[in-house]
């Protein structure tokens, strides 16, 4: 069946809004389809061809003390299910305490739209099987074992409300990732990936080549002592850091609740001038859905502008409460976590990866971080491990592979010590949710606090 098209999604949503007896009703449809295969040395290990259409209903009942709000969701657009969701939402709202702080649903807005790539949505398993065979063969030639995933799919979002919102957009995504490891899974590994909006822009052979080369260069890794190192972080390492600023920091709610590294620093230049981060759903490299989960148009929002802590993202409720502009970053409502960036973009610099490395007397090239997590939101202090290729740099050149290290470092410190930004950007994710468009970064004095035996 695939993702719902504009007509189908808006018809379902409008029909539900029209049939609601609540004073305010908002219907959001999140429709997804995906075809993926994971693989290892044994061949395909897991696969799925699946779709889902999650219909979310939010209703408000007016009351003398404010608005009573309830919400419900269901899987699929079947009339019985969506009507059931509406009934459950109204039932919850009837019993909910009135909330005088709830702003009325926002009125009509020109939310924009986007379309998915048909070739990506139609991409099947036979070509993916060829990618898998190629990866297995390439790894075997170097006595390596593969672990990877090939993925294509799309998502559509529709928002219709009784206040006049009506928005629909859809996008596609294709990705391929490979980790090439020594057969004992101990003696070094290499990782490469590519995430694009259109499968035609994916070059799986290039990903395979890069992952294998990384792994071959990662044999016989040496242990190095923890301490401060100049690091060149490749995009897949940078993303693990920047995503955490998105999870906890770049939201106006985080600042209001004193849980952000922006607290007391907004408007101040405390970071390197070469660092600029924005939330930008319109970035040509990897455009996002142009409106949020309330149907509010996403604004390109500078968050760090040439080292200045420049702003935060908001949603309708927080914009109303604080009297600021709605940047269009609502999560599916209601959400206790408040607004959140969805399309983080780090501005490119002017150096190639080789030039970034050439500027290091002694330091480390980091391919990827693993299991990064947040210790202190006020300084954005994070910890995590290096993974899948960490290499010593000496006199501006890669020297030898090193065993993995744990970093414990605050980003308020690290991002004030950036000495170089790559000119090539890539879309990268991390262990948890989200993806970032980012170049590589070179940072002085990055703190590693312990090591491991591999």
């Amino acid at each position: 069946m695939g993702i719902l098209d504009r007509t189908a999604a808006l018809d379902v949503a409008r029909s539900l809004v029209d049939s609601s007896t609540a004073d305010e009703t908002e219907v959001v449809i999140d429709s997804q389809e995906e075809r993926f295969v994971r693989f290892a040395a044994t061949g395909p290990t897991q696969s799925a061809d699946h779709e889902r259409h999650v219909v979310s209903v939010r209703v408000r009942l007016d009351d003398a003390g404010g608005k009573r709000e309830g919400a419900a969701m269901c899987d699929g657009v079947d009339p019985a299910l969506v009507n059931g969701a509406l009934e459950r939402a109204i039932e919850l709202a009837r019993h909910a305490p009135a909330n005088p702080d709830l702003a009325p649903l926002a009125g009509p807005a020109d939310a924009g739209t986007c379309e998915p790539d048909a070739e990506t949505l139609a991409h099947g398993f036979e070509p993916k099987a060829a990618w898998v065979r190629e990866a297995i063969d390439a790894c075997r030639r170097e006595d390596l074992v593969p672990s990877g995933i090939a993925q294509t799919g799309g998502e559509a979002r529709a928002v219709v409300s009784s206040a006049g919102r009506a928005a629909y957009a859809a996008r596609s995504r294709a990705s391929y990732a490979l980790t090439a490891s020594s057969p004992d899974l101990v003696g070094g590994a290499g990782f490469a990936d590519r995430i694009v909006p259109r499968v035609a822009d994916l070059d799986p052979a290039d990903v395979t080549r890069r992952a294998v080369a990384k792994s071959v260069a990662n044999r016989d890794a040496r242990e190095v002592a923890p301490g401060e190192y100049t690091v060149v972080l490749e995009p897949a390492a940078v993303s693990a850091l920047v995503l955490f600023a998105g999870y906890q920091g770049f939201s106006c709610q985080d600042v209001e609740e004193q849980m952000s590294f922006l607290c007391g620093r907004l408007g101040e230049r405390t970071l390197s001038e070469s660092l600029s981060i924005a939330d930008d759903a319109y970035d040509a490299t990897y455009p996002g859905i142009p409106f949020d989960w309330e149907g509010s148009p996403k604004q390109r929002t500078p968050l760090i502008e040439r080292g200045v802590m420049a702003g935060t993202v908001s949603d309708h409720a927080w914009a109303t409460k604080l009297g600021v502009a709605n940047t269009g970053h609502a999560r599916l409502q209601p959400h206790p976590g408040g607004p959140q960036p969805a399309n983080l973009v780090v501005a490119a610099g002017d150096q190639s990866l080789e030039e970034l490395i050439a500027g290091v007397d002694r330091g480390l090239l980091v391919t990827q971080f693993h299991y990064t997590n947040l210790i202190d939101p006020r300084e954005l202090t994070l910890t995590g491990m290096t993974r899948n290729g960490t290499y010593m740099i000496e006199d501006g050149k890669l020297s030898y592979p090193v065993k993995n290290l744990r970093f414990t470092e605050s980003m308020t410190r690290a991002w004030s010590r950036i000495t170089g930004v790559g000119r090539d950007r890539a879309v990268s994710g991390a262990l948890f949710d989200g993806e970032v468009v980012t170049p590589a970064l070179r940072i002085d004095g990055f703190r590693f606090t312990s090591t491991t035996a591999f």
Binding site: D78, F125, R133, S147
Partner: protein, 487 residues
């Protein structure tokens, strides 16, 4: 109900008719309710429903999976279509097979399982649940330095119908509830959060609403509020090497990350390297490797009452079981699936393959995994411990490497042991270690009076990531020679 079983059966039959050599199908209907109050306002009242069918088939040694939401009309056609899509997936991928997949045993069970429930959470009036949360949230009022007060409750009812080409016909009704409170204080230039009975939404138990009322959250509010404020004024836990006593709401994470995940046999064989990682607990260590001291006994148990993964059968139709993962300190067993049991010479899976809902294929997941109780009373343990040791509890932050060796965890709160008692409060106790060395340092575990199942409602694994739930039983335990780091 029978209709749903017939639907699953129809999908299986269609897959077989089209050439599959094995097929299983799961219809899953899941109802949830999420309620949250924040600073006196309703922050969330959400009632999700999930309803769909997932079909897994094998052909020429290659598995394929497909899934779709269930509709009111045309269900037979839907079941057949999903089965055909799963088969097409397997067929198109079969050209890349190097080693054909095989399944351990034959699991053609016809059975029912229902979580024992005293109070059906979906029969409790919403107003009553909200009043319970209101009282819990209000119990944290009274100090302006507390900037965020939260109280939340979560109920879930999952009904599933499984059928397989081996003749399985299994109907299960799984119910769980959870609730918790948290206070965030801003004072003295610090922001700190305290939670009860655990962080990340509290504690979750397989069973009914009785597990929420028994938490008596309103009785905990004043303590939680005061500890959040006190943490803002507390000294940072100093770095150094010393004895650590972990409370249950932190120890459960230690079990989860440093024993549970490395014990998943698919990880061990490199099938999760693409995201979650592999494992140091390789098969050559089974039966011989010293995982911890001889007081360390870790038992996996999908049958224990109250566990979040307590069920009759896993998503491969394998009955629930109980076995030692670590026995008297020695590495003794793995979590397996029917695909992986043969890799360690076992003829039957441990029954730990699960999928998140109907949308995903099953993979090996940690089941309820517990550190078995020891012999100590808590006060006796503290009294027996030297000055300078730290008692720490409640998960704040966790990170562990891809082979599950080097970990670094931060707790919400700690206290320094002084003169055989808990002394000054310590902020952000952060300890770092290596899995087997850490467990080897365990020399005392509190007894069953202090033992409790702690629910993990947010375990992520797989790629694309799937969320699973499980419980970890723990009583406070003492670990020697632990490295504390500045954080």
């Amino acid at each position: 109900m029978t209709d749903m079983m017939q639907l699953a059966r129809r999908a299986v039959d269609e897959a077989l008719a089209q050439g599959a050599d094995y097929a299983d199908a799961r219809v899953v209907h899941l109802l949830s309710e999420e309620l949250a109050l924040k600073n006196g306002r309703l922050a969330q009242a959400q009632a999700p429903e999930e309803f769909g069918i997932g079909v897994r088939v094998r052909r020429d040694g290659c598995f394929g999976f497909a899934a779709a939401p269930i509709t009111s009309d045309g269900r037979d056609g839907l079941a057949r279509d999903v089965a055909r899509r799963a088969l097409r997936t397997a067929t198109e991928l079969s050209g890349a097979v190097v080693e054909p997949s095989k399944l351990a045993g034959s699991e053609g069970h016809v059975a029912e399982f229902t979580t024992p429930v005293e109070v059906d959470p979906f029969a409790v009036p919403i107003a009553e649940k909200l009043e319970h949360l209101r009282a819990a949230e209000a119990s944290m009022e009274g100090d302006d330095r507390v900037i965020v007060r939260k109280a939340s409750a979560s109920s879930r009812r999952e009904e599933q119908w499984q059928a397989s080409s081996e003749g399985a016909a299994i109907h299960q009704l799984l119910v769980r509830c959870g609730a918790g409170i948290g206070a965030t204080a801003a004072a003295n230039g610090q922001v700190e959060t305290r939670s009860a009975p655990a962080s990340f939404g509290g504690n979750y138990v397989g069973g009914g609403w009785e597990n929420v009322t028994s938490l008596a959250l309103a009785d905990e509010g004043a303590r939680v509020r005061d500890e959040a404020v006190a943490l803002c004024h507390a000294d940072l836990c100093p770095p150094g090497t010393r004895t650590l006593i972990l409370g249950g709401s932190q120890l459960m994470l230690q079990i989860h990350e440093s024993v549970g995940h490395p014990n998943e046999l698919d990880r061990v064989h490199g099938h999760e390297v693409d995201l979650a990682g592999s494992s140091f607990a390789t098969t050559d260590k089974l039966g011989a490797f010293t995982y911890g001291s001889d007081v360390v006994n870790l038992v996996a148990d999908s049958t224990v009452r109250g566990g979040l993964d307590t069920r009759g059968f896993d998503d491969e139709c394998v009955p629930s079981q109980r076995w030692h993962v670590v026995k008297d300190g020695t590495f003794s067993g793995y979590h397996t699936s029917r695909e992986w049991a043969h890799a360690i010479g076992e003829e039957r899976s441990r029954g730990t393959a699960r999928a998140e809902g109907w949308f995903h294929p099953p993979i090996i997941r940690i089941t309820n995994l517990s550190l078995m109780p020891g012999t100590w009373g808590f006060d006796d343990l503290i009294a027996d411990t030297e000055d300078g040791a730290v008692f720490a509890d409640t998960v704040k932050m966790w990170s562990i490497d891809q082979r599950r060796l080097n970990f670094q965890f931060t707790c919400e709160i700690g206290w320094e042991v002084k003169d055989g008692k808990l002394g000054r409060m310590l902020r952000r106790p952060t300890y770092q270690g290596t899995t087997p060395e850490f467990w080897a340092g365990c020399d005392a575990i509190c007894d069953e009076r202090h033992w409790r199942l702690w629910g993990v409602p947010n375990c992520g694994k797989g790629n694309p990531m799937q969320v699973a739930e499980m419980s970890h039983g723990a009583a406070p335990a003492r670990f020697r020679g632990v490295t504390f780091v500045e954080a």
